[in-house]
Amino acid sequence: MTQLLIRLADSARHVLPLAALLICVFCLNASGQEADDRVDAFQETLSHGNYPWYDKAHDDARPLRTPQQQNREPSGVARLINILAWILLLPALLYLLCRIVVAAREKVDLQPLGSEPQPRQSAIKLPVANDGTYDYYAAASQAAKVSDFRSAIVCLFNHQLGVLNRYNLIRLDKSGSNHKYLRQLRDGSVRSAFQKSTLVFEAVFFGRHNADRDLYAKFEANHKNLEQALPKLTTVSGGTGAATALLLALLLIAGCSRHTIEYGHSYGKSINGSSVFFDYLEARGHVVRRMFDFQENDLQRANVLVLFNRHKDGLPAESIAQLNDWLLDEPGRVVIYVARDYEVHIDHPGADPKNTRTGSFFDDEEIPTYDVFTDWDTVSTTAHYGVRQGDPLADGVSTQAELFLDNHPLSVDDGENMLVAHEAFVVRQPVGKSEIYLVANGSCLLNYQLADSHDNRQIAANLANRLAENRVVYFIEGHQQPGISSDSSDAWFQNPFSFLFVEPINWLAIHWLLVGFMFMLYRLPIFGRPHDPAESSHREFAAHIEAYGNLMQHTGNTNYAGQMIRNYLETVRRKS
């Protein structure tokens, strides 16, 4: 398990610089631009955000080492810390496992006498209750009521065996004798009480001694004493808690580096995250929160939703309809839908003469048309974007752009509906008295892009500027396809395992699953409890027969082989 964790940790550690390297390669031509005040705010946001990949001095991304460089020049301190953490982690893990085992053996809820749970079916094959559903305590009470005290004592004794077995103080099996159980008991008070019970049971059951009401009363009182002695064993020292806390802390340190390549998530400092935009909005006075998938209560509080699409197929129709309903419920609501880059397709618009391009940023190609947001029903799937000749696209945000919806040109004014930079643009689409901002090629709003490009900052700043003041902004952090549920709890658990993918639960869950798996190995009856490990033969008869056959074939002398067999058997007999 440890090796596996180390490999996971190593692989996670290697992914980050690799991703950063790739982004660096693709963004080498990024050039600094003179920023206005709004754009400068991004620099301030980045500076205060303590992004490990951001160079405050140069307002740019730090050059990242390649994995090969890392291998040549390992960080000694980091490596030492990691090794130390693992050294601490392993004993802590083992100690915790031991504590879990001990606690599991000791900490069993003592049921009230009247509500004793059924004996485990696998515990023992008791003559009366082969099906495992027999309640011996009830049977004892019933027998006592009809003055059959012998049966009552026998039943109550069997009930005691069941209780001790559930406490894992004894290992109940069909061949277990009372002597054996007594030897297994280590706690003095429990053993003493059980010993008294044993004496009475044997005298009554095997010795045909008379059993009367007094004897049964004493037997039952002794049984209560035994059960009172049992909870003392459940006292768990603080060592387990401390070990758990230490383990959790170490788990976070050792191999559990933060997963920093999540696309669009606002938590963490991922270069592919949206925390810069998150912080920027917060710095502008908005109340910015996160929600995991669509939660009804949060939606009612929200004025603005920022949704980074993380799924290749975009939003499902149900989610789009729900978002539309949400927009129509109250005026002034805003959805900022940030599409993935591949959601914008470059078509070959030969059929549409209006798309003839006279000048653009794709000089060597035909005019591109963008089939934008094919899953978004508020924008026609035939929307096209064209650029007028002479637009200073390379200089930043275009204020002279034209949008065609259903082949009808829409006038896009500066600050009105359209922002263009490089391959990114933003479309404003009103829905009732609310509005949707569709960010095509939305990677421009990711952290690294904001740190890298003045144009992207400009788009983000303009987009943020469209929002009214003091809005409640929610970033949707759910994976893949979020959906709205009427019940918040249902919404949260729409995917019952979604919480497992939220950091740091995802890392803790992996480790605890491993711990749980090991614990189950111990607990499952198929593996047995390690009281009396089954002896296995060290010799395989078939292997010996094969060996003897080979010997005979090899030597061709059956007498010699037979003599060898006899010698071997003699040796085995002596050893046995």
Binding site: F157, S175, S177, N178, G207, R208, N210, D212, S537, S576
Partner: protein, 358 residues
Amino acid sequence: MSIPDKSSPLFNETPEMPADTDHDKSSAAAPGDKENDTASGLQQLSRTIDELRTQLHRVFIGQDSLIDGLLIALFCGGHVLIEGVPGLGKTLIAKALSRLVDCKFNRIQFTPDLMPSDITGSHVFNMKTREFQFYPGPVFTNILLADEINRAPAKTHSALLEIMEESHVTLDGKHYEIEPPFFTIATQNPIESEGTYALPEAQLDRFMFKLVIDYPPEADECEILRNAISDNNAPDDVLPDLTPLLDSETTCNVRRCLQDIIVDPKIIEFANAIVRRTRSWKEVYHGASPRAGITLLRGARVPALMAGRDFVTPDDLLDLCLSTLRHRVILTPEAEVEGRTVDGILEDIIQSVEVPRF
């Protein structure tokens, strides 16, 4: 012995923590109104046997199972076969036991040239009386130590085993009774097989127990060494000081008293299940005979008596299973080649039988 009365003092005293072999001596036997004499007699016997064990431990350190096995066989009228390497004190314990029960003791060193008449005795012509006169052999004793019994030829084995079974010697058509109690302690060495005559299974069945002893633990061995070189505790010094606790008659009476120990039908079924299971176990070529079950039940009464109980529990039976059955079963060749031991297989068999609980 009958059922004790209702005022059983089972909870009137707190029992001591049980040892592994006598966990419930203190309070289980409750005297009844009508059977006070018998119950008190059993209690007295229990204390006597306890004292017997204590005294044996004065000269023989450790080996509790050996001492218990010897006492059980003695009181049941059985014989034991002890398998162990030389130098473990087999002769010493036999001597000590004979002193404590105030019995005659003889020792026979079995050799390949030992003849039946060497152990049974023979008729010798008396010149004075002009007739044959019987000169009894060493078997005419109460406790006989047959040392290295497997070194004698088969006919000597047969002679001895007949005596063990019948407790008399037949010579020239005349029967010569051996005074009870007659208790044979036979030994054999497990490590030397050259020049030995292995006892056949049919004859092994005559032995009540086969006790396997090994070297003592380190602490016990240190104590043995300390005692051996001390002035007062050396076995040779302690042996003459042993005071007889029983005599021949009392020993025979104990056998009769054992009949008062209750053996519940469930215990009989339990013993029978174990014995029968040996016959159907796949790794056992030849299982135990009904005599093994009889021996188990007879022997189980003694531990109950030692514990001061008037009834037998499954634990009494289980404690005797290995020593009773290990020489009565024959493993299959496959099991032997696999290196399985008799004791290991017997433990598996015992584990497969359900202890009566309801």
